[in-house]
Amino acid sequence: MARNLLSSLRTLASRCLAPFHRAALDHELDEELQSHLDLAAEEHRRRGLSPEDARIAALRSFGGVAQTRENIRLHESFPFLENLRRDLVYALRQIRRSPGFAASVIGTLALGIAAATAMFTVVDHVLLRPLPWRDARSLVILHEGDRTGKGNQDVPWLDIEAWIKRSHSFEQIAYSGTISGRNYLEGKNDALAISGITVSPNLFSVLGATPLLGRSFISEAPSFAPGKDNATIILSYSVWQTAFGGRASVLGKVVRINGNPYTVIGVMPRGFSYPWNTGDLGQVWVPIQLSKDDQTRSYSAMSYEAIARLRNGMTPETARAEMTAIQKTLAPQYTDPDLRKDHNTVVLERYGETLVDKDLKKALLALLAASGVLWLIANVNVTNLLLARSTARQREIAMRRALGASGWRVVRQMVTEGLVLSTASALLGIGLAVAGIHLAESARPIHLNLDLSARVNPAILAVLCGLTVLSALISTAWPALVAVGAPIEPALKQGGQQTGSGRRHHRMRGALVALEVAMSLTLLVACGLLLRTIYTLRRVPLGYRTDHILVASLNMPSWRFSGRNMVADLYNPLLERVQHLHGVQAAGLMSEVPLGQTFNIALTLRLNGNDVAARLKPVSPEIQRIFGFPMLAGRFFNSSDTPTSEPVAVVNPAFARLYAPDKHDPSSLIGTKFWSTRRNVPAHIIGILNNERQGTVAEASQPEVEVCLCQINPQATIYGPATIAMDLAVRTEQPTAQMIPEIRDILRHASPELATATITTMDQIVEDSYGSQRLAAHLLEIFGGSALLLCVAGLYGLLAYVVTQRTRELGVRIALGAQRANLLWMVLRQAAVMLLIGVALGTGLAWASGRLVRGFLYGVNAHDGWTLAGAAVLLLASGLLAAYLPARRAAGVDPMTALRTE
């Protein structure tokens, strides 16, 4: 059996390979048959026949030589393979014969394929990438929320304990938190900023992840006593590489984080991260040590993010139902009504679905659609080129058919040609796509978190192959059918140049150009809308200055200053030194600069009988000078505010609008006494800021309270948060490149951990805050620009071709007295008709696709008439410009030469 299979396989292989050495095989066969006949004739001669008779006798005993040859050729390979080979050779010869044509087809298709492949690669990596863990679909994240089932509150241990005891939906529940404050892994001379995560010992087994080196934590029943793995640590691959050079000897070493010693027991493999996507910091994991803070359901309770693996057969829905029932009995145990409100239900989501930002997802899918449109435009363009070509080749095709090629055979040959062209385009397209992705990566319009090392996967290859084959089919099918449908006789009779079906062809090709124009208009309108969005965003009055400001985002090594007053020992000396730098006009600290998105402190309190929720920002008085915050009423902090003077606070208009006693007069809030940084001494509200955009440019601010940094001391409740992170803002006219090293130097002196702080300009922070709009706008600029280019090229190609074909007719017209201006108009009119039909069609398309982009727009309507008009005018103008060249050629035809060329 196996033997039979083996010999069948050998036969198959030999037959498949045969077409590749057709010539050699034919030659060998001829030689073999000839040698047979010679040998036979010789034997006959030896028996006494004349040479001629011997030859005839040899032929007779052989049987049909031609038949044998045919029979052998038939079985030597497969007929369809032979045909394919012939078609390929023919296609390559065609390409060699007209390299310019081939280049324009390949270039056009490559552009379309590259755009679609690159976009799909990004989408695949960001949206479709499966988590590299065992059965990741059954991992769910558990949070707590309000009665409506919304919210993402972390969960106190007491609730998790109850869940573990009472739920049946999960195999296991694990939970994780963070090491408080900003974390540094201490080295000999420097410290590496890291993201320190506390995890329940079973976390890795819940995820189904195993360490690359060493072991993971030993799963044990949670207890308040130190566990078996107390003071051990597992490193991520990147921390292992950066801090320990990837040496295996790291196992068993003692490392210090924020001053505490931990023994390294394991290293996770490359690419592993939990929680997902924590930015640029390398992660380390230490076991959670339960403490007295885990024995309450009050504000002081520690809280964790819980992740669980669903039992076989359990769905998120069934688990949600069970957890809702359990939580109903737990919620009443929250004695604080506010807390109870936020911990009312369990919010359960598949882990994979929590990883992608919804906005980004929408943006990427819309862009994928846009790249698909560009690909379609490229295909239509190539169809048009091939149509022109097949008209020019009508005579050749008619000849082949007259010689007996079936219509199917001709179609197949043309599709093969299309495949050769689209394969070449795909190869070029891969290069373009890779270059494009690299460019996007380095430009980083938005942090996509692409893992470049694993870019190619079967899905992407499948899409690429699919696009290639589809491109070939779409672009060749019509031209091939047209070519085959054309009657043979007239094509053979006429010079092949001007045929009867020409007019119909031109109309079809005109329709294709109109289609291209329509699709391009859609892309251009989308691009225009986003550009206007960006433009509008840039014009939004921020309420503060952003020029000439440098911002250093500092993660504070608070553990170094335990027992000391960081405000006095770190912040004040640091500010002092920066202020004395040459060229610095002012320097100040603020927990988070506007639009910074780095760190925020939530404040909840009661004021005038209202629940107040606000962002809290400790700031130093200089901040007002740096950003030029205008005051609506009252004053900002100044040098009269000291650690011992009366506590003061400043609020923003959003706060005043909500909580001022007189809603129409924000200044009525001034003098109000409320919560303070100092125990038992209420603060006065001394001023109302007049600025609106602190979180994002597109949205008005949330209520905000600012307190004076100098009034914070270790006894204040806010001292903890205020010593986690600070943004240092510096106003200076000096060049950025010169200032940054000087500032960095001062930071290094203040504390070695601060040397690696990110320093950027405020203008850049504003720019970065445009996020997905900017990404979409940039990509649409590329897509829209390419579409415009293709469509103009398509229009030009068609008109140039028509004019060439009609040279004789035009010559005759001129000879008969036609005005040259009239001929110019005739061609331009033809272009205008195509353009106008395209624009009309495109307006409809753009209108329909408005829904797709609406979510990204700011200050502009998805059906904005001006944008549409602008895009249409751009298309019409560039289209007419492209038409002008062939039109001028038409008007410039010399009747004598035109008539002579035929």
Binding site: L39, T68, I72
Partner: protein, 114 residues
């Protein structure tokens, strides 16, 4: 591929070629054809040309291999030789052929007997 009588003939021809190469050693197409004619003592009416499709088939299956050489009278000719797989195939084919022949013989004997 072909049907009826020729099917049997094809199988037979393959075995004849293999057997010829086994007893005679490497041989060119003409030599094989002549040898088969001699052995069958003209009872088999066969065009010499039909030997070539059989040779192609056997070569594709890997049972024989071909090599260019020089014939006894100094001509270039393609020589065929048995491969190891070919030898094993002879044994198998002989066995199954003998089984068929024996069955047929028993059939014919039984029919004459009744």
């Amino acid at each position: 591929m072909e049907q009826g009588k020729s099917d049997v003939l094809q199988g037979t021809l393959d075995l004849m070629v293999l057997k010829t190469l086994e007893s005679m050693g490497p041989l060119h197409g003409y030599g094989i054809a002549r040898r088969i004619e001699q052995i069958s003592e003209q009872t088999l009416s066969m065009n010499q040309g039909t030997i070539y499709p059989a040779l192609l088939r056997l070569r594709q299956k890997g049972w024989i291999r071909a090599e260019w050489g020089t014939s006894e009278n100094g001509r270039r000719a393609r020589y065929y030789a048995l491969t190891a797989a070919g030898k094993a195939q002879i044994a198998r084919e002989t066995q199954s052929w003998e089984r068929v022949a024996a069955t047929m013989a028993r059939f014919l004997a039984a029919n004459t007997g009744s």
